[in-house]
Amino acid sequence: MQKKILLLTIAAFVLVFVALYFTISDSDYKYLSKNLKVSHLIYNPDKKLSSFSLIDHNNNKFENENLKDEWTVLTFIYTHCPDVCPTELMNISTLKSKIKKSNSSFMPNFVVITFDPIRDTPEILKSYVTHFDEDFLGVSGDQNQIDQLVKDFGAYYERVMYSDSGELILIPNYEKIPPEAMENGYSINHTAWVYLVNPGGQIHAGFPAPHKPNDMLEDIKLLVDNY
């Protein structure tokens, strides 16, 4: 009988603990969601980032492990982008300066992955991304693996070209890029979010455009403090 009471007591404690745990997590989530100014909490412990192996701009491997143990600010760009991507990279550079000036020991890594590894080789990316900030790390590699990551992050891109008559032609991602597109050039329609990856190597939050470094900094502080 005593054994039964003991078991019931333990079970009750476990139930209360579990209920309390989820209540607190839920309230944390609500608190964060309510107080985030310019970002969305998109962390889902059940949805792991796919396994990937890419190449950084120093020709080193860039894999899941490179996103672990530290916070990372991550974004996708392509170097033939005249407007959106340079604006994005400049804003991230400003964000980095503001984090540095905020007198905290916190400093995330900054990773810039190309949508367009066919044109953006590691060498091209290095020259491009370090122009905006010497600490930015460009990442290129296999298109299929980049596509998988793009999908994991909930990002999107599509290549477009113009025919000789000026008609807009969409180049589906599953099709080989036509020779005339390589010759005459193509642009890429794409989402322009900046992501925060947590030290567990998982997507934590996303910042849609337009990016305001001051507000981003406040949200990042809130997200990191509540991790």
Binding site: T79, H80, C81, P82, D83, V84, P86, T87, M90, N91, T94, I124, S127, Y128, T130, H131, F132, Y156, E158, V160, Y162, G166, L168, G185, S187, I188, N189, H190, T191, A192, W193, P208, A209, P210, K212, P213, N214, D215
Partner: protein, 165 residues
């Protein structure tokens, strides 16, 4: 013979009048357009594209279209507009950029812009890039654009908001 000479003089006069009319029209049309805040964004030394921005003011009673941009040192130059389509930023090539009657069109990041494709050499910060704007009323405007990082040093408040947080 004499008749021929007189006739030639008359034809020359007619041509001169037509030329004068065209030049006058061009000068008058040109006066309707004024430009300000022109700049080109600094880009990495290997950048395949440069974005150009300028405010164009139209003081006439009719809409005027920017139809072409000419400059040396580029593979080609296009007019573009960045459009946010449900979160996807689309780079839309434009046949023209409208300048409304008695209005202003701002070519700025995230909106209308000039795309300088394939520069022979990427200009450095502080350089001046010259280009010519061609409008559908026949007028042209020469622009001297400063190469800089952003509108941060600019006194235009709205433009500052675009880039300077």
């Amino acid at each position: 013979m004499c008749f021929l000479i007189i006739n030639n003089i008359m034809i020359t006069k007619k041509i001169a009048i037509v030329v004068l009319f065209l030049v006058t029209s061009a000068v008058l049309a040109e006066s309707h357009i004024s430009v300000s805040e022109s700049w080109i964004r600094t880009a990495p030394p290997n950048a395949p594209m440069l974005g150009g921005f300028v405010n164009i003011n139209n003081s006439s009673d009719k809409e005027i279209k920017l139809i072409q941009v000419n400059a040396s040192g580029f593979k080609r130059i296009e007019l573009h507009r960045t459009v946010d389509s449900n979160g996807t930023m689309k780079m839309m090539r434009q046949d023209y950029i409208p300048i409304p009657a008695h209005g202003l069109t701002k070519l700025e990041p995230g909106s209308w812009h000039i795309m300088f494709i394939g520069p022979d050499e990427v200009p450095k910060e502080g350089d001046i890039v010259m280009f010519s704007l061609v409008f559908d009323d026949g007028s042209k405007q020469m622009v001297h654009a400063l190469v800089r990082k952003s509108m941060m040093m600019n006194h235009d408040h709205n433009s500052m908001q675009m880039n300077h947080d």
